[in-house]
């Protein structure tokens, strides 16, 4: 319990640091990004919109600290300003309409990569030096060396353009409306395969190698020898004794790797024009829609922090030693 409270405190501080960064970045950066933005958008906006924007970026006359507290207050009420590129939709609404796709893509690929990668790692360590252990790690390191977006493009070119097996972009075919019909779900799944495959391909090697190495260290432990001496079945020793312990460091690194997955999803979404918030983040930067850029950044960070807290809760359930102390 103390452990979880400490972690929660840490995440709150981390989130506060992000808000602060968000607040000061446009205000203190050289080159005055705010005026750059204004010169870009002023002509297309009504005076009251310009005024609202001005206030958002601290171009009003109130002292900085007062603006700072107002800003924090607004964030916690979910008010992240108005999107410029999708004026007058609030930032939170724009994000809300797209975050589902990112969760779908990121969640699917993460789940596959983690489960499959760790499983392969367990097997590779258990059968040291055999086929799986000698062929897969170097192969996966090599595949993992390619940039996400490049693999995405390669997959797109190969399976989408040349072979024509899978759709090229977007999350579902144009003209189809969201419903629980088999057709719609199948369509969404077909659109999901390529982007998810790329993320899985790039990230699975890390999981496999990490799990393999901790497994190797774990199999040298005395309790594994004792389990063998007990005459337990190999599968039980491998999973309940070795892998069950070896997965603990893996769980910890899971939280850390979420940030990478988000990054990978961002790049992949860009290649496939997948309508998630990663793609939206890039579009917002290109459109100089600063409120949306910042809003998406905060949302992603909050999501990653929340997921990490969830991982901590799971970790406490998995490791009895943390539970007590």
């Amino acid at each position: 319990m103390v452990f979880l409270l400490r972690r929660l405190g840490f995440y709150v501080i981390a989130f506060w640091a992000c808000i602060t960064l968000n607040f000061f970045l446009p205000r203190l950066m050289p080159g005055d990004p705010v005026s750059r933005m204004f010169s870009q958008v002023q002509s297309q906006m009504r005076p009251d919109q310009v005024d609202a924007l001005r206030r958002l970026f601290g171009l009003d006359d109130r002292p900085l600290w007062e603006q700072y507290f107002t800003y924090i207050g607004k964030i916690f009420r979910g008010d992240m300003g108005i999107s410029l590129s999708r004026f007058p939709a609030p930032v939170s609404e724009v994000i809300g309409s797209q975050i589902g796709w990112t969760l779908l893509l990121g969640g699917t690929s993460l789940a596959i990569a983690v489960v499959l990668g760790n499983f392969l790692g367990v097997l590779a360590a258990w059968r040291r030096g055999k086929f799986l252990d000698s062929v897969f790690p170097p192969l996966l390191i090599f595949v993992g060396s390619f940039p996400y977006f490049w693999l995405a493009m390669a997959a797109l070119y190969l399976f989408g353009i040349t072979l024509g097996w899978l759709p090229l972009n977007h999350a579902f075919s144009t003209g189809l409306s969201a419903s629980f019909s088999l057709k719609y779900i199948g369509d969404v799944a077909a659109h999901l395969i390529l982007p998810a495959l790329t993320i899985v391909l790039v990230s699975i090697g890390g999981w496999m190698l990490g799990m393999r190495n901790t497994m190797i260290a774990t199999t040298a432990e005395d309790y594994i020898t004792m389990a063998r001496a007990k005459g337990l079945r190999p599968a039980r020793i491998m999973f309940q004794y070795a892998a069950r312990n070896a997965m603990l460091p893996s769980v910890t690194s899971f939280g850390m790797s979420l940030g990478f997955v988000v990054g990978g999803a961002l790049l992949t979404e860009t290649v496939f024009a997948y309508p998630g918030i990663g793609y939206q983040l890039l579009t917002s930067v290109q459109a100089l829609d600063y409120p949306l850029t910042q809003g998406i950044f905060l949302t992603i960070t909050a999501a990653v922090l929340a997921a990490n807290f969830l991982v901590d809760i799971i970790y406490v359930r998995l490791d009895p030693r943390v539970r007590v102390s």
Partner: protein, 312 residues
Amino acid sequence: MPLTDSTPTATTTAGNPTVQVPEPAVPGRLVHGGFVHGILTNKKALFGLAVLVIFALLALLAPLLAPGNPSDFGPEASLAPSANHLLGTTSKGQDVLALTLWGSRSSLTVGFIVGLAATFIGCLVGIASAYFGKAIDEVLSLLTNIFLLIPGLPLLVVLAAFLPPGPATVVIVLVITGWAGSARVLRSQALSLRSKDFVAAAVVTGEKAWRIMFREILPNMASIVMSTLLGCVIYGIGAQAGLEFLGLGDTGSVSWGTNLYWANNDGALMTGDWWVLLPSGVAIAVVAFALALINYAVDEITNPRLRVEKKG
């Protein structure tokens, strides 16, 4: 003369056959000569080093191998690889081989600068954190963990969006997002060295803090610094490419990332000009793979447990 730690290096003690698995050496406790020898006799490391040297040479010799400005538009657009243009041309008539060769200069330079800077900051923060402990450690660790948790690429995008564009921005932004991982690894390593007798001895004899940190602790974690450096360079090259691919880098320069950005922007995928996309991506992958192989070899050399046992 400070006391040195007397932990022996990892060798299978033949006099004690009951030891079934050799104790892993504390990384960094290997004799220096042993480490270099290990690298030079390790196939993975040698292969990786060879690839790196080849790429460095190609980058250095780019002006000789492909004279002229590689970005200049030419008359022969969208040509498939041929004897004239070994890797074909872009839709703007640029030679892809020239772009790739010139691109390696920016990519490798940025990658290594970012790697060195991030490792340097990581060393500073990690060792200071471990050496001073208490409040300083709390604050530095908190900072490290925050930077580790904030998703890197989105932060990269936000920073790049607000900073004035240019090569310096790319480096700064990559260092800001890349140092935390090495700081964390180096801190835990420095922490275990901090508790060793030779550090205690140095403290008692009144050596200056910076001297203990950089003359006593740092040399003893050389191999782990090395592997963090390699990791940071991989990160630098990959993240630069990602940033530039998104159009947030220095789009005026020639690098593997910008090559891919322009290729994608000009619709190379849709027109089927695969040869425009292939070289820069493969180059990134091969360099990253070479670095990863060296990293893997360093791991193997310092942690004998990971070595595959010889069949007797």
